[in-house]
């Protein structure tokens, strides 16, 4: 049987005629989960989320219930909920759908989460470019307040929570939670060092803060609606719920596919759901979970042991779509934004494209990242420009090795991982590009830099 979707987050927004207004949401069972939540003790709501096994959908995949447990409840300072709707990882466009087509689903998740952590104020940090998305959210908040789902005395419980939509300024690093917090405080989005700045202890205004991804909060809504134990039955042990795969690049049907965790493979996603490669082309590689996850090459074998001790030996097409299986192949599920490259692509151009992105987006605080990202961008661009030397290939790797692990935030890894993963896998092709371009010849395929 070909792979199937199991829409949970996208179930409503895909219905013909479904609209963003609150009446439409209420007709589809909206805010029933919030009703349940406020009739439950906050700590029991946290327990439900822990039982559900839900992992964050912002890229790192950290268990949501555990994150909430880290919240410092003894400080006496107010707690804040911050929603990361910055969606800045290239290849990722899943949260956009929720914001533009089903904002109340996320708002309900926000209200439930705010109740669970007893936050009186929540901020939605939304990408600055989502101008109309911010308006849609603001309108939805007004509607929810008018019906008693947000604002003061939510559903007669005596509990109140205000939600503010805050637009960013088009900066990738503000998707990093501590950079986001700095930005929300009205400063440059320079990430903070951990320790001591773990948001759950010293977050927004140095108060305990939970930062959750937009989709994670939509998932929380479903955890409460069906109960943690039921939710945990979706997917597989260790990775529950659905994953939204945002496929882009060179594939017949790019798009968003919501699949139960672990219940399909990359092969099924790319061939059954996305229709395979473009006519006359063959797949070459994928970047599985947003541009900073490590690249996988078609034709590679992935061998190792699963957590239960059983051995696996997979081709790329065989890799199951769950966080642990993908991690076992040396990369990450990340945000599920899969970028597909086919045999028309000159790989040094693809790398150069991403290097240029990270060089543009480095905040400049840490020298290894600021200098390293620029060097990587210049060296790879020099190769594409015909001025490459064979020693540039090991140099790329050498530079990347000096960035990863040496920076305040994970932007350093985001800079390094595409290079560290691609150089060993495409070294021969890079060398060929260097020689060909030195002769003044170019490659076919799309221009990427």
């Amino acid at each position: 049987m070909p792979a199937q979707e199991r829409p949970l987050i996208y179930a409503n927004l895909r219905r013909p005629g479904y609209t963003v207004d609150i009446d439409c949401y209420l007709r589809h069972g909206g805010y029933e989960a919030l009703r349940k939540a406020v009739a439950t003790k906050p700590e029991d709501v946290c327990k439900e989320v822990e039982t559900s096994g839900l992992r964050g959908r912002g890229g790192a995949g950290f268990p949501t219930g555990m994150k909430w447990k880290f919240l410092d409840r003894k400080s006496g300072k107010p707690a804040y909920l911050v929603v990361n709707a910055d969606e800045s990882e290239p290849g990722t466009y899943k949260d956009r759908q929720i914001i533009y087509k089903d904002p109340h689903q996320m708002l309900e998740g926000i209200a439930i989460t705010a109740w669970a952590i007893q936050a009186r104020q929540a901020f939605i940090y939304i990408r600055g470019e989502f101008q109309h998305g911010a308006k849609i959210l603001r309108r939805a908040i007004e509607e929810a307040k008018a019906r008693g789902f947000l604002g003061s005395n939510i559903l007669g419980s005596g509990y109140s929570c205000e939600v503010v939509v805050h637009r960013g300024g088009g900066c990738y690093v503000c998707g990093e939670e501590t950079g986001l917090i700095e930005s929300l405080e009205g400063k440059r989005g320079y990430p903070r060092i951990k320790p001591p700045y773990f948001p759950a202890v010293l977050g927004l205004y140095n108060c305990p803060t939970i930062v959750n991804n937009a989709e994670t909060l939509a998932q929380v809504r479903h955890v409460l609606a069906m109960g943690g134990a039921e939710f945990a039955k979706i997917g597989i042990p260790g990775d529950s719920g659905t994953h939204i795969w945002g496929v882009s690049g060179l594939v017949k049907r790019p798009g968003l596919y919501e699949i139960e965790a672990g219940k399909a493979t990359f092969g099924e996603l790319l061939y059954d759901l996305c229709g395979g490669p473009l006519d006359g082309r063959a797949f070459k590689a994928i970047i599985p979970g947003g541009s900073s996850t490590k690249i996988l090459r078609f034709g590679e074998r992935f061998k190792g042991k699963r957590p239960d001790g059983t051995e696996f030996d997979w081709a790329l097409e065989d890799i199951p779509l769950d966080a642990n299986s993908i991690a076992a192949c040396g990369t990450g599920l990340g945000t599920g934004g899969t970028i597909v490259l086919d045999d028309s692509v000159e790989m040094i151009q693809a790398l150069s494209n991403l290097n240029a992105f990270y060089a543009h987006e480095t905040c400049g605080q840490c020298t290894p990242c600021r200098e390293g990202s620029l060097w990587l961008s210049r060296v790879s661009r020099r190769i594409v420009g015909g001025g490459g030397r064979e020693e540039d290939v090991p140099m790329l790797l050498d530079i990347a090795n000096q960035v990863a692990g040496r920076t305040i935030c994970a932007h350093g890894e985001a800079v390094a991982w595409p290079v560290q993963s691609a150089v060993p896998k495409f070294k021969d092709e890079y060398l060929e590009s260097i020689r060909r371009r030195r002769r003044g010849e170019t490659a076919g395929g799309p221009t990427l830099i």
Binding site: D95, E129, R167, G169, L250
Partner: protein, 177 residues
Amino acid sequence: MSLKPETLAAADAIVAQYPQARSATLPLLHLVQEDRGHIAPEDEAWVAAKVGVTPMQVREVVTFYPMFRLAPVGRRHIRVCRTLSCALRGSYALMAELEKALGCARGETSADGNFTLEFVECIADCGCGPVVQVDHALHENVAPDQAAAFASRIRESLADPGYGKGEPRPGTPEWNG
């Protein structure tokens, strides 16, 4: 030129949304830029006074975030995504065509002041590449071979008195913007 009365009037309510006034820096800068089209030195001073910091502390925010600009742009601001997913679907070829059709090099404003054409980094619509943001609207799947027609529509919009004023309908570029 001073800011519009409605801009000035909106500021205090924005500041009041935050436990600390400085948090209103980015929202106020967006407000100013939507009014004036860019951020002038006197705007930085105005924002600084509203949120209780020095003008230099506002300047360092303005220069950090790619969306804020210190100089005006053309009447139509055209931003083509150049990051990998869109590039794979032809955004570089599209850019080359738009340069020809609009008579404007990337990163520049046309001599008549009508168009500013830029490459930008990922705007999170990767499955519909290449995507192009024109002012408030997001256009999806703009193939390079449609560039001339796309440019003509942008040019025609210069004569449209209702441009940017309507209430967006779901699924339109204005809605997605």
